[in-house]
Symmetry: C2
Subunit: 140 residues, 2 copies
DNA sequence: CTACAAAGGTTTGATGTCAAACAAAAAGGA
DNA sequence: TCCTTTTTGTTTGACATCAAACCTTTGTAG
């Protein structure tokens, strides 16, 4: 649905970025991951151990989506899941050693994505773009 | 995966728009459709009958994705599919009367989306935004 | 004309995604 | 204490999505 040109362009940009990330992840043979898995790992890199609840909020996906996403990362050995001791409802997700060892790769992919975006716009234009997108989002 | 702020903002903007469209479609009881179905109908509103091949290109989805999307629209009675007479490989998708009758609703949703986006940015800013997104996409 | 390659679509299998229903634990109120 | 509500997370069912394999029809080289 792309009646307005802006909506169309935003969708296309997002698709390009998404495909770029997926292809980079595959190139590194990390397992067949999608950007959402990357979101989870990035969140863990930045915040350490996190309960499912916070992960759900941070990656902006339904909780019933996050469960299998995390499960996959567990099966690949990148994270583990442990019950909180105070509140037994809470499951805390944390990086394993193997998961932490992937960080350089994710940093590299992030950097590459950044370079790709800024290949054809200036830093100043990037600022403008960020500002406009924030305006649209903030008062949505 | 939202290391760079811009990538993150573009994703969030796209998600907001997508959810907006889905909720509008549901509000109109058109059937449980997603934006991709809207993309197909909009393409047909603009170009009349279209072969699957062109539909695939226009909505930027894999051909194996478009097949079931169209099938759903057929089941809902909004489009039909007929074999081309010259080239028997080609299946042409066309709007039915019922499908055409939905056009006002889609025009309304488009307009609402436009209003939502431009609620907090000026026309001039919209122009700038479009320009910058095009820059990023074009030389991707 | 025949064989091979290319093009247009569908099928199959795997998986991400959401909504709704569910289960279990904690919180709160009487 | 006991009952109700809220919170946290999983399960289930439906479906969009893609990649790879497949089928059918065209196009083409020899």
């Amino acid at each position: 649905m792309k009646p307005d040109n802006l909506a169309y362009l935003i969708s296309v940009a997002r698709e390009k970025m998404s495909r770029f990330i997926v292809s980079e992840l595959q190139r590194h043979k990390i397992g067949k991951l999608v950007p959402s898995h990357g979101d989870i790992l990035m969140a863990l890199y930045q915040h350490g151990s996190l309960p499912m609840k916070d992960l759900v909020r941070m990656i902006r996906k339904d909780k019933s989506t996050v469960t299998p996403l995390v499960e996959k990362l567990i099966n690949l050995g990148y994270v583990d899941k442990n019950q909180d001791e105070q509140d037994l409802r809470i499951k805390k997700i944390a990086l394993t050693f193997k998961g932490r060892s992937l960080r350089p790769i994710f940093d590299e992919i992030s950097e590459k994505l950044y370079q790709r975006i800024y290949k054809n716009i200036s830093v100043e234009e990037g600022k403008t773009l960020r500002l406009l997108l924030e305006k649209i989002i903030a008062h949505w």
